[in-house]
């Protein structure tokens, strides 16, 4: 299931090549097995400079986000969160602007749907003021030299 979730994140990132996206893939040891080896393999399968891969053997992140998302489990996992450009992490991470999951019985957010997740990511990117329009708000550079009189 989780590999499927990861593959959906990869699909999303491949279809949105925007440099204003950052992704943090946090690997949690939910099912045991060769957790580190598998995490390494999967991380290597999608090298992208916008993506940070984190190995979390103590499930620190799962515990933390469980307090935020309240999935009614010991730890939050199989969750996919989106934070807008203005989100700030004070003492704890803020509520995500949008999130999806692959958990049974959780109704606080929709189940993971890759096209919908991608569409939401694009929508959030469109809300960031593009750099070109920021530049265009500046006063245009014009010559202040007076025209010679005829």
């Amino acid at each position: 299931m989780c590999r499927w979730g990861f593959s959906n994140v990869v699909k999303t990132l491949k279809s949105v090549g925007d440099e204003r996206v950052r992704a943090y893939i946090v690997w949690l040891p939910i099912f045991g097995g060769d957790f580190k080896g598998e995490a390494r393999k999967l991380s290597d399968s999608f090298p992208d400079k916008r993506v940070s891969y984190l190995l979390d053997p103590e499930s620190l992140s799962g515990n933390l986000w469980e307090r935020i998302l309240k999935t009614e489990r010991e730890i939050a996992w199989d969750v996919y969160l989106l934070y807008g450009a203005g989100a700030h992490w004070e003492k704890e991470p803020p509520q995500p602007d949008f999130w999806m999951h692959q958990l049974d019985g959780v109704t606080k957010a929709p189940r993971l749907d890759q096209p919908e997740f991608t569409a939401k990511l694009k929508e959030m990117l469109s809300e960031i003021k593009p750099l070109i329009s920021q530049r265009s708000t500046k006063a245009p550079i014009v010559s202040t030299r007076a025209e010679p009189s005829q």
Binding site: V26, F35, D44, P47, L54, L55, L60, Y83, P93
Partner: protein, 122 residues
């Protein structure tokens, strides 16, 4: 004093003339040259032949390989997929020892849309 060849050839007066006789080809006086001289001559000829053959093979290979290499390189340029600017050679996998590590990257990337996925690799 050298008295001439043992089998009755023309006598020589000096060592220099003997050497000349031994090394000069076609001189009727050198028909009694020792066999090592002939062997050396043959070896030199064979060596020269081998060099010629090697040069010919190298020329042949180069004449075939250079255009092939050029064509492969030209095709490689065309066929190579456009490399995404976001691609990197091998991603770093950082072990999370404190949640502050994650907080730090999250805050560093402020102003960008951030995606967090908590997943199991197994």
């Amino acid at each position: 004093m050298f008295d001439g060849p043992p089998h009755g050839g023309r006598p020589r007066s000096t060592l220099a003339s003997i050497n000349m006789a031994l090394l000069t080809e076609g001189d009727p006086l050198t028909t009694t040259r020792p066999c090592y001289v002939l062997r050396e001559k043959k070896m030199r000829e064979r060596h020269a032949d081998r060099l010629k053959l090697r040069f010919a093979i190298a020329t042949l290979i180069a004449s075939a390989a250079i255009p092939l290499g050029v064509s492969l390189l030209a095709n490689a340029d065309v066929q190579r997929p456009a490399r995404s600017q976001t691609r990197i050679s091998r991603p770093r996998l950082v072990e999370l020892r404190s949640i502050d590590q994650l907080k730090e990257v999250f805050e560093r990337d402020g102003g960008k849309v951030r995606l967090v996925a908590l997943v199991s690799p197994t």
